[in-house]
């Protein structure tokens, strides 16, 4: 149990997917302009991450032991079809949620956080429960980073920024400062 909590916390804050490992930067830059969209994007990511973790565990246990060189191709095919299936299922079962998520759902396929999770989970040899904790932690970390960034950007929108710094240069520097702040968590569980 202690291990699971550690894996969760490590993925969520200490090795935050976005701010420490640079995974999932596209949505981090693209949809972090408003807090509401950032939250929904985070939610969609948590959902896909958890299902991916489940599928990767199944693949690793039953299929890839026989053909390790197919790892990458198997992962990406599974993730792409998974996102497609999830999209169809949500459209059928909850049209409201489908409209809320909009374009973000298909875009998750090319989000490196998802494939990153699959590869890290394999390299570290996580089992089923550990994989779940890892996926939930990674999702929580992504959502946290997205929401923090969105609230900062909403504030910066109202500030008097020099014309040359408007745009993504400033966003990257804010991200750097956030990343610096998150480095402070590094000592969290050693003491």
């Amino acid at each position: 149990m202690r291990d699971l909590v550690w894996i969760f916390l490590s993925a969520a804050v200490i090795n935050n997917f976005t701010l420490a490992l640079f995974l999932g930067l596209c949505p981090f830059m693209g949809v972090s302009a408003r807090v509401g969209t950032a939250l929904r994007m985070g939610g969609a990511n948590v959902f896909v991450l958890v299902i991916t973790s489940l599928c990767v565990w199944a693949l690793n246990t039953w299929v890839l032991v026989h053909a390790p060189y197919l790892q990458l191709i198997a992962f990406i095919v599974v993730i792409a079809s998974l996102v497609q299936i999830v999209e169809m299922a949500i459209r059928k079962m909850s049209p409201t949620l489908f409209r809320e998520l909009g374009i973000f759902l298909p875009l998750i396929t090319t989000n490196c956080a998802i494939l990153g999770l699959a590869i890290f989970q394999t390299n570290r040899g996580y089992g089923f429960l550990e994989g779940m904790a890892f996926a939930l932690g990674a999702g929580a970390g992504l959502t946290l980073a997205l929401v923090l960034m969105a609230s900062l950007r909403e504030t910066v929108d109202l500030a008097d920024v020099p014309a040359v710094a408007r745009g993504l240069g400033l966003v990257l520097i804010i991200a750097g400062s956030l990343s610096l702040a998150f480095m402070g968590f590094a000592g969290l569980l050693s003491g």
Binding site: L21, A163, G176
Partner: protein, 216 residues
């Protein structure tokens, strides 16, 4: 479709439409593995190889791939080349392969590569797709080397492992840590935007016509 000359196909990606610095594509590897020049170089070359290979294959198969499943087909082609690059790096430079870790496999989801397949290779002849891929790949390599040089020189005081400043230099350790990646790219973009604005102002003054500022 815009008509462009082969020369433009090749040159466009290198600087004017640089994938990283102008279009902000492929940011994950550009930030994650640029902490040393050697890593940036290996990553740049691997991405160049994958991009060129996939562009060639996608453009020669463009009449055979049905439109409905084209994205999955592109991803499969890209994943095949990445697997090749992964194994090649592990065989040739095992140390760098270890340092890059999962980021080699993550070339699959580099949006720059998929973007070039969808926007260019799938609609053009093999020759033009090759020129476009070489240009874009070179642009990516240049951006990676810029990031890598700044971060290694400031963060470790070395270039390709060779000490530059002697023992008196106190390295800015933060530059080789994750925040340094964000800061380096942020300041590069700010610098580019400053140059762009200065040029726009200079062009605007003599002719009197408002110069177009390229959208960041």
């Amino acid at each position: 479709m815009r008509t462009t000359t082969p020369r433009q196909d090749l040159l466009r990606g290198i600087w004017r439409e640089n994938p990283v610095l102008i279009h902000l594509l492929g940011l994950c590897p550009a930030l994650a593995v640029t902490n040393t020049v050697a890593n940036s170089l290996a990553m740049g070359i691997a991405t160049f190889f994958v991009l060129t290979g996939s562009s060639l294959l996608v453009s020669s198969l463009r009449r055979l791939i049905p439109a409905e499943v084209r994205i999955s087909a592109y991803i499969l082609i890209i994943a095949t080349f990445v697997t090749v690059a992964d194994m090649a790096l592990a065989a040739i430079v095992p140390d760098i392969h270890k340092a890059l870790g999962a980021f080699i496999a993550l070339i699959v989801v580099n949006c720059m590569i998929l973007g070039r397949q969808e926007a260019f290779a799938s609609k053009n002849t093999v020759g033009r797709a090759l020129l476009d891929a070489v240009g874009t790949g070179t642009g990516f390599l240049i951006a990676m080397l810029m990031m890598g040089s700044v971060r290694e020189v400031l963060g470790a005081g070395t270039f390709l492992g060779i000490s530059l400043f002697g023992a008196g230099f106190e390295p800015w350790v933060v530059m080789v840590l994750p925040p340094g990646g964000f800061f380096t790219l942020g300041f590069l973009l700010l610098g580019l935007s400053w140059f762009e604005r200065r040029r726009a102002r200079r062009q605007a003054v003599p002719g009197g016509a408002p110069a177009l500022r390229r959208a960041a």
